[in-house]
């Protein structure tokens, strides 16, 4: 197996974007090509979840490779729910590692704000089991709400801990020009003030408005290449050292222990094993906080903290920008935004920026090993990536 490097990166703002989906995918790709100075690529993977349903466009990869004038490179669409982004990176990794391709461009894009928020939520809810979950009005927030209630009972996590995640990630997003939400929030306004129920209404009890990520448009791109190409590119060397993926039951009710996110644990373990590092070696991480509870639980399942102790580490400030292991320096899905198909690539973009030492005001200290967790369904399809700065 050959070693695989990230040689170029690009991203759009995550917000409401008023240009076509194919351009949301192509714009970060142009930035990434300019970043590494390469003129051509062998293969393009496009990560997206909603083109066919929301934007009424199929065959998106063919549109993207053409508008970039990268033809006749190969092109294919990867749809894997909210884990589409990291799944497409995994395919790119396999293509370079196997020796089939030398340079692979992986770009992700979503344009969900073309429909209203309820339709967007319903579109994401089609991930759930059609007969056992979806028919009842189950949405991703409702699965998260039921999960949170169990987690609170068993481990003593409170609404205050969830709000601490939101405040931290909103603070980080203030330092990220590409983030969707540039809005400073306080625990007092979310929970304690007389206006708390207006500021922060319940969405899926016990989860409230500020426990949810926004519905975002956005795109992000990474270019993967073999070692000989990477060494010619005049950019800091960041290696994609570990790729791990795992699945779990489609319906959440069938999980043996409904407070476990087994697929996260397994995907992370595979990724670390391939990279030859352990969770304490990680200096900076992007975890899939579509709901605030997920940042806490994933920080345990990937091995940064013991099961049931993630909220205690959060209390101690260990996951802040200045802490032992900064989590979601970009603002995370919570505040940077969640353009579903692009999210996993957005996470990789942030980690590469951090490992290059180019994150400016949100730079994590001594960032040599970085990690991402991209979470699909309610934990039924998870991809974890480990990145290592070389040189």
């Amino acid at each position: 197996m050959r070693e695989v490097y990230v040689v170029g990166i690009g991203i759009t703002s995550f917000s409401r974007l008023e240009y076509p989906l194919s351009e949301i995918a192509a714009y970060p790709a142009m930035m990434a090509l300019a970043d590494c100075g390469l003129a051509g690529v062998d293969q393009v993977y496009v990560a997206n979840m909603g083109a066919a349903r929301i934007n009424r466009q199929t065959g998106l990869a063919s549109a993207v490779v053409d508008t970039l004038s990268l033809t006749p490179a190969g092109a294919a669409l990867i749809e894997n729910g909210p884990a589409s982004g990291a799944s497409a990176i995994k395919e790119g990794f396999l293509a370079v590692a196997s020796g089939v391709h030398d340079v692979v461009l992986v770009t992700g894009a979503e344009r969900m704000r073309e429909v209203n928020n309820l339709e967007a939520t319903d579109f994401v809810a089609t991930l759930s089991h059609p007969l056992a979950e979806y028919i009842y009005g189950i949405t991703l927030p409702s699965l998260a709400g039921m999960f949170t209630r169990l987690y609170m009972e068993r481990y003593g996590v409170t609404s205050r801990h969830l709000a601490m995640v939101a405040v931290k990630n909103h603070d980080n997003a203030m330092l990220n020009p590409f983030a969707h939400l540039h809005q400073k929030i306080t625990i007092e306004a979310l929970l304690d003030s007389p206006e708390a129920l207006t500021n922060n209404p319940y969405v899926a009890e016990p989860l409230r408005f500020f426990d949810m990520c926004p519905v975002s448009d956005g795109g992000a791109c990474v270019i993967l290449a073999a070692a000989d190409v990477a060494k010619k590119v005049k950019r800091p060397l960041v290696r994609l050292a570990g790729v791990g993926q795992a699945t779990d039951t489609h319906a959440v009710q069938e999980r043996e222990d409904p407070t476990d996110l087994l697929a996260v644990r397994r995907a992370a373990a595979k990724s670390f094993e391939m990279a030859g590092v352990k969770p304490p070696d990680v200096n900076v991480a992007e975890l899939h906080d579509a709901f605030t509870i997920l940042e806490i639980v994933e920080s345990e399942e990937v091995g940064f903290f013991k099961k049931g102790e993630g909220h205690l580490a959060l209390e101690r400030g260990e996951t802040r920008l200045t802490g032992r292991i900064p989590i979601n320096p970009s603002g995370g899905l919570k505040a940077k935004g969640h353009p579903v198909g692009a999210t996993g690539i957005g996470q990789a973009h942030e980690i590469v920026t951090q490992l290059r030492g180019e994150a400016k005001k949100r730079q994590a200290k001594n960032a040599k090993v970085g990690f991402t967790c991209n979470f699909g369904g309610f934990g039924n399809n998870v991809v974890c990536l480990t990145f290592i700065r070389e040189d």
Binding site: L118, T121, P141, V252, Q253
Partner: protein, 115 residues
């Protein structure tokens, strides 16, 4: 006749599944359709729940109770709650009713009430 929702018992190893799956999760040895349908028990215990305030377009209500119920035989199912103040752990009784109305069709599923 009361409507039933069925679970599926593997003819090879006896494991019961809900929802339907094509291959038994325990033995993985059954051929296609080698399951016997068995009606889901109606009584159980509310494992966890949420009150959902932002509903998909098909639902014309302000909020909706949703929960995961552990049935008497240990199987877990998701369903709607018609309970004013749900509490985790409470005993519930299910029935099969219309749970979703689209433009042209209605869908039946489980609704749970206080037992």
């Amino acid at each position: 006749m009361a409507l039933e929702i069925y679970a599926y018992r593997c003819r090879k190893c006896g494991a019961v599944h809900y929802p339907y799956r094509m291959v038994c999760r325990r033995c993985r040895q059954n051929a296609h359709n080698e399951f016997d349908p068995v009606p889901l028990p109606r009584r159980g215990r509310l494992l966890t729940f949420t009150i959902l305030h932002t509903l998909p377009p098909d639902f014309n209500v302000a909020k909706l109770g949703l929960g995961i119920v552990e049935l008497e035989d240990g199987l877990r199912v998701t369903g709607q709650l018609d309970i004013a103040e749900p509490k985790a752990g409470m005993a519930v009784q299910g029935s099969v009713e219309v749970v979703r109305r689209g433009e042209y069709e209605k869908t039946h599923g489980l609704v749970f009430r206080k037992a």
